[in-house]
Symmetry: D2
Subunit: 249 residues, 4 copies
Amino acid sequence: MAKKIRVTVWNEYRHEKRNEKVAQIYPKGIHGAIAEFLQKYPDIETRTATLDEPDHGLGGDVLDDTDVLIWWGHTAHEEVKDEIVNKVYNRILDGMGLIVLHSGHASKIFRKVCGTNSDQLRWREIGEMERIWVIEPGHPIVEGLDEYIEIPHVEMYGERFDIPAPETLVFISWFEGGEVFRSGCCYTRGKGKIFYFRPGHETFPIYHQKEIQRVIYNAVRWAKPVDGPKPIFGNVEPLENIRGEQELS
Amino acid sequence: MAKKIRVTVWNEYRHEKRNEKVAQIYPKGIHGAIAEFLQKYPDIETRTATLDEPDHGLGGDVLDDTDVLIWWGHTAHEEVKDEIVNKVYNRILDGMGLIVLHSGHASKIFRKVCGTNSDQLRWREIGEMERIWVIEPGHPIVEGLDEYIEIPHVEMYGERFDIPAPETLVFISWFEGGEVFRSGCCYTRGKGKIFYFRPGHETFPIYHQKEIQRVIYNAVRWAKPVDGPKPIFGNVEPLENIRGEQELS
Amino acid sequence: MAKKIRVTVWNEYRHEKRNEKVAQIYPKGIHGAIAEFLQKYPDIETRTATLDEPDHGLGGDVLDDTDVLIWWGHTAHEEVKDEIVNKVYNRILDGMGLIVLHSGHASKIFRKVCGTNSDQLRWREIGEMERIWVIEPGHPIVEGLDEYIEIPHVEMYGERFDIPAPETLVFISWFEGGEVFRSGCCYTRGKGKIFYFRPGHETFPIYHQKEIQRVIYNAVRWAKPVDGPKPIFGNVEPLENIRGEQELS
Amino acid sequence: MAKKIRVTVWNEYRHEKRNEKVAQIYPKGIHGAIAEFLQKYPDIETRTATLDEPDHGLGGDVLDDTDVLIWWGHTAHEEVKDEIVNKVYNRILDGMGLIVLHSGHASKIFRKVCGTNSDQLRWREIGEMERIWVIEPGHPIVEGLDEYIEIPHVEMYGERFDIPAPETLVFISWFEGGEVFRSGCCYTRGKGKIFYFRPGHETFPIYHQKEIQRVIYNAVRWAKPVDGPKPIFGNVEPLENIRGEQELS
């Protein structure tokens, strides 16, 4: 049997403890809700980690044992220790997948892999409607979807969003109030795959919505590490006189 | 003095002759209107060509003498002769710029350079509002613009638009009725640069709008040919023993 | 059990019948050799098709029953009927994967999806050495590889290769005689994924080489269709008043 | 008359003071050599800045008065103050162009905009030959070049180079010893354009070579700021009820 994909769902986990409305929507925290629906898929195993645990729950071997890390943060990005951010960064370059959700666009780790001020965008919180259009209907991340996803009430994010042009732009959002947004963005950094996915908010039940769950599941599968080459870096000898032999099957 | 950019504005030129409303908006044809505003720029010289001229106005040396070709067609794409399409195609690969406007997405030449069924998209003609967002504020094509362009009444084009992912996505449109669209798309084919720009319609005065004119002007400058290398194709000798000498300044 | 990926290996199949040396290397044809090693993988089932069969072996339901089509042609590209090329093209846009090998760069179908004169490149046939470097070590197509593949004797292909910039450039080749080449190029056209892979020639046993076989297998898995949305094209109603309900899990 | 492009050439400027051989090749420093040839172009004005000046020569209004910054560093990357790196970074996001040369791949600023460990690559210093192939013959950066540039003696850099896939890959290098390298890489970060150009070394007269000078000049022109929109970030009102009027020409 194929090995399961090991997912760690990271959450700031502050709103849920302080705001009753959020607690009602996500009684086990946003991380709990995401881990719960992912856990139902037979090819995935999950664990969770949160800001206020020691080392933000990412100490020891946790990252080494993680194939894909999901990141949700909002109000406490600056409390994430640089040392942990650097550990996450190096694991991504070494192949771990990263899925950044919603307000995670302003997290230290996403800004670091973007190389831009990805915290910069337009926003508005009046509960307007969002329609998320599939731009690449052949991409693995849209498996099982219809041509758009509709979310009745959301916080709006609008362009200009200060990110590098995605390698693949999977979704574009339309908002009732007049904005558009690049809502599903694929990147590669080192050997790691990164997916930014806009939907999600603490005061709307967006991570309970079936299509959103499907996208996150698809993204986990897309972002899982590949057992590719381990490049040699540094000072090397010329190869020119070493004509290899062909190993035939 | 720098050489002017030689622009040929091509138009199907049927609507204007048959439909009084269109004729009122574009008394000299859409090609006439575009050539007229471009001609005001000191670095541009224009000529026009239309479907019903011999060789669609693109015979003889016209294409060889063209730096950037602007293409507007709508109802008669199939009447454009394959022989002329191939001439245009080869000139693009050899460096001529191509700007495809609005319904030109379904033209033979754009389908040919896309390698997809770029005639496929959603559309609706109820005169709704369009807001065109600048996605890449550092791109030469958005010089002089604000962060969005608003057009009060348009024909809507919506995703899914069956094009290859643009090399640079410059604009995304928002429509009142709920759709989004990749409205400014840059491609390279051979040595030629191609820009697809969505706005424009025969029954709305869109090519009289200042920002739209500015985009077309910017795109002409961006798409003009570069005097780059002329690659050698075909059977070649090994280069390994020819160690060149360095020509120092 | 998961459904197998249905691969059709297409071959021009002329060299093998006319040239004894080629027949010795590929006694069952290049298509036979490729089908044979792919067939050993438990998740793949193969069939073959060749130029001189009726409809080039691609009539009836063959394409509808194909998830990934592998294409090898060399001397008879022009004999492939346009009607079959168009069928293949439409199946790609509808989601079928396409893997184009070596001299298939000049095939009608690859030129059509490129939108360039992809038959244009430098070449030389002196049996020099090629070293194929992995540029994206995290890409699914390089699973199980080392940082380069070495082939002792090849026909050289060199830049400038007149293709659109690949969406992902997976491999770059180095040749003894002084050239480089973009040897592993990913594209999306419509819902279909396309991979161009340079190695392979009729007079060298390249498709018997283990790493080459691994790349082709990986590419098949990468290029298989995704069950994504079926976009609606054409004239549509505005969506703005239809606020959907959220289907929660 | 058009405004000149204001170029600041930044150099670590250590080798030239400590190593006689380097001093002979670049008696005014590498910055001096680059500024000198750029200064000959009528559309460019230059200044220089070096590590050991106060604020590394980039204090006060220097960066605000710079359209394009050229960066050469090698042994003292870590001595560049984070505060200055951040100033440079913010100016890039705001539109300033950046050209990173050779060993500048390991500089703090390039690693920051890459979002990867771009200091990671293969290297070798045996004075082998390099041939730099033009991959995009229609790109403004290759204006005036032949299809390749040959440099008789260089330090080799080889793949895997840990950078994000360039938005445009302009050059690929071939090295005598068996490696390849992505030698001309375009990126956009915020409103700023970035070009990484591999050639150059302190012990070879590479910046005296005419074609190399031409590439740097072309890159300056390509990377100069565009007077595009200044996006509004942050909390915004809905736009939906403000139907703009069309300003016609």
